[in-house]
Amino acid sequence: MQIEVRTRMSQIWRVGLLSTALLAAAPAHAFIAYVSNEKSNTVSVIDTDSWTVVKTIKVGQRPRGIDFTRDGKFVMVAVGDDDTIQVIDAKTQVIVDSLPSGPDPELFAQDAAGKILYVANENDNTVTVIDLEKRARLGDIQVGVEPEGMTISPDGKTLINTSETTNMAHFIDTATRQIVANVLVDARPRFAEFRHDASELWISSEIGGTISIIDPKKHEVIGKVTFEIPGLRKEAIQPVGIGMTKDDKTAFVALGPANRIAVVDTATRKVTKYLLVGQRVWHMAFTPDEKYLLTTNGVSNDVSVIDVAAQKVIKTIQVGELPWGIAIAP
């Protein structure tokens, strides 16, 4: 009986994916944020109107990377210790399916059409390629030791993967699935983010304590963002998540145990402000109207809400234990 239900659910999910094109953008003002809680094995659902947790969904072991499907109908969450990616129906908020991700999935990226998913598998130095519609594993790409950060270039032609112990950003041609370039960055690269105009790729190095800015055409590091906070020892500054505004003018960088978000002017590549958030801040997501930026603060078990225009923290929301990733419905 249970198996039957599961099959039907997954069919509904696939139909949902296929009908992407028929969907018009939702006119809602309130948004819904999904936060993965690494220790609680749950996903907290936050309503951005009331800024409260409206639901807590039980998921598999060690949920980390989280994102919506392009149509906004489903939430995918990597549950590393269960070696899979679970799929939550955003309407019913029930787990309806899982994806064949390979061992210990952590972060993933999808193509613009929402058809192909690329998953970083920390345990076997590979990136797994998954066909989202067929839920089939299309292949693996061998990368460096401990693949983590994943992103796709705005033109969809290049997949970026960072490997934490190899300390490189790997440039992968999405058509041939071959590595075309490797760029050495500072120690333990965690996260990769393109400018929307594709002119720069930003890579955070958690242990190196820097952001490397790479020219994606020349495959060269062309600049670095460094951080300095008076009264805080250098080792505590550990950049992880990066959020770039749509006009590419401002970047927000989560500084981990420094408990701050750095606001970076992308033109000068200098920090203009540090915003104090919760403890060990790692990842972040903008609301689609870009009015707010939500950050996950692992050690204080909460989410900080930043007013993007005012560059001020306006709210703190308690979630589950060790909040890790965050995704907001498109």
Partner: protein, 393 residues
């Protein structure tokens, strides 16, 4: 004649081109002792490849990175038996390898280092925790990834003081290394404001570590040995020789926790360490070696990773270049300790957080909050620059 010369020239040119396409080979020698030491607990008994297994994993990790940089790493193992000439063995190993990872006692390590001084071979001390190797007997061609006794003692002492367990009953074994650890613990107590209320010596009277009715006997002996002590908060045992410390937990006359060589133990690494991405490392290690990772494995892994980090940053396998980079101001390495690890430039000791473990869990990680330092909080562990007697040469 000319034609013949031309042929040779063409041949050598072809060979050079072929060499250009070949990966840069980086040879690392592993020089260790044959045999393993006996422990009180069967569970703690080290594997034959303790240390070496960590180096092997780092070779794999370096090679994964190396395939993007056209660098290939290989490991050559050499085990010394009693009576073997360490200088000769080290020299032979250095003929084929530019770096040597050494798990040797202090005197043997110094012999190896001095024999290789002229060659420019760089050694990594992964096993010896002796202070003197970083102080009076320090060498410019030895990098230390093993922590020192003072670092381990300070890491433990900071936690005990933070816990407000400031009155220590110190029990010391009768072997030289036990006394050295006790010396480090006394220094820690003085530095951080703990008080050693009494010291007792546990004489090693010989005898087997494993006997058939051992438990019954130990259960009678240990309470008697620890009775009539002045009021204390924690029993700190210095027993590197594995003679008595693990007999103490749950058997002391007064109900007190045990720390030091048993109970809460300071270590550079533990199989239970799962923070800061360490699970990936533990999983990789188990997959390769079919056992769990020890502190010695980690110290050897870190040594080989330091070499890999430097060859990738310099894009070179040249000993001089790589060595200069490792000793230079821009060097740091990530090793699943939540912070970048760097070298103390005055004695080439790796700065590192120290785990406090109980055999099942990581209880805490030192330095503890509130122990401050003007350069790096990691320098609150062990001898600091102003105290150092090291003159690198």
């Amino acid at each position: 004649m000319l034609r013949w010369l031309g042929g040779v020239l063409a041949l050598s040119l072809a060979a050079t081109q072929a060499l250009g396409a070949d990966p840069t080979e980086i040879g690392i020698g592993y020089l260790g002792r044959a045999g393993v030491k006996q422990t009180l607990s069967l569970v703690d008994q080290p594997a034959d490849n303790d240390g070496l297994a960590g180096a092997r994993l780092a070779i794999d990790d370096n090679n994964t990175t190396g395939k993007f940089l056209n660098q290939r790493f290989k490991l050559e193992e050499r085990r010394l038996r009693d009576g073997d000439d360490v200088a000769k063995a080290a020299t032979e190993l250095a003929e084929r390898n530019t770096f040597i990872v050494a798990d040797l006692p202090a005197d043997a390590l110094l012999k190896a280092a001095d024999a290789l001084r002229e060659r420019g071979t760089l050694l990594f001390n992964v096993g010896a925790i002796d202070e003197r190797l970083r102080e009076a007997d320090c060498r410019a061609n030895i990098i230390h990834t093993a922590p020192t006794r003072a670092m381990l003692a300070d890491a433990l002492g900071q936690y005990l003081v933070w816990k407000q367990w400031k009155r220590w009953l110190l029990v010391v074994g009768s072997h030289d290394e036990d006394k050295l650890f006790a010396h480090a613990l006394r220094r820690t107590a003085t530095r951080f404001g703990a008080k050693i209320v009494q010291e007792r010596v546990f004489e090693d009277a010989g005898g087997a570590r494993r006997t058939d009715s051992g438990v019954t006997l130990i259960q009678r002996q240990m309470p008697v040995f620890t009775q009539q002590a002045p009021a204390y908060d924690v029993l700190v045992a210095a027993d590197e020789s594995e003679v008595f410390a693990n007999y103490l937990p749950y058997r002391t006359w007064d109900p007190r926790p045990v720390a030091g060589s048993a109970g809460l133990v300071p270590r550079s690494w533990d199989a239970a360490q799962d923070q800061w991405g360490a699970v990936q490392m533990q999983n990789r290690f188990i997959k390769l070696n079919q056992r769990r990772m020890t502190a010695l494995d980690m110290q050897a892994w870190t040594a080989v990773r330091i070499i890999g980090e430097a060859t990738s940053r310099t894009n070179s396998g040249d000993t001089r270049k790589v060595t200069d980079f490792i000793k230079g101001p821009d060097f740091s390495v990530a090793a699943f300790k939540g912070t970048r690890l760097t070298l103390r430039d005055w004695n080439l000791q790796l700065r590192q957080p120290i785990l406090l473990v109980d055999g099942r869990m990581v209880v805490s990680v030192s330095p503890q909050e509130g122990f401050l330092h003007q350069v790096s909080e990691l320098d609150t562990l062990g001898y600091d620059r102003p105290e150092s007697k090291c003159k690198l040469k």
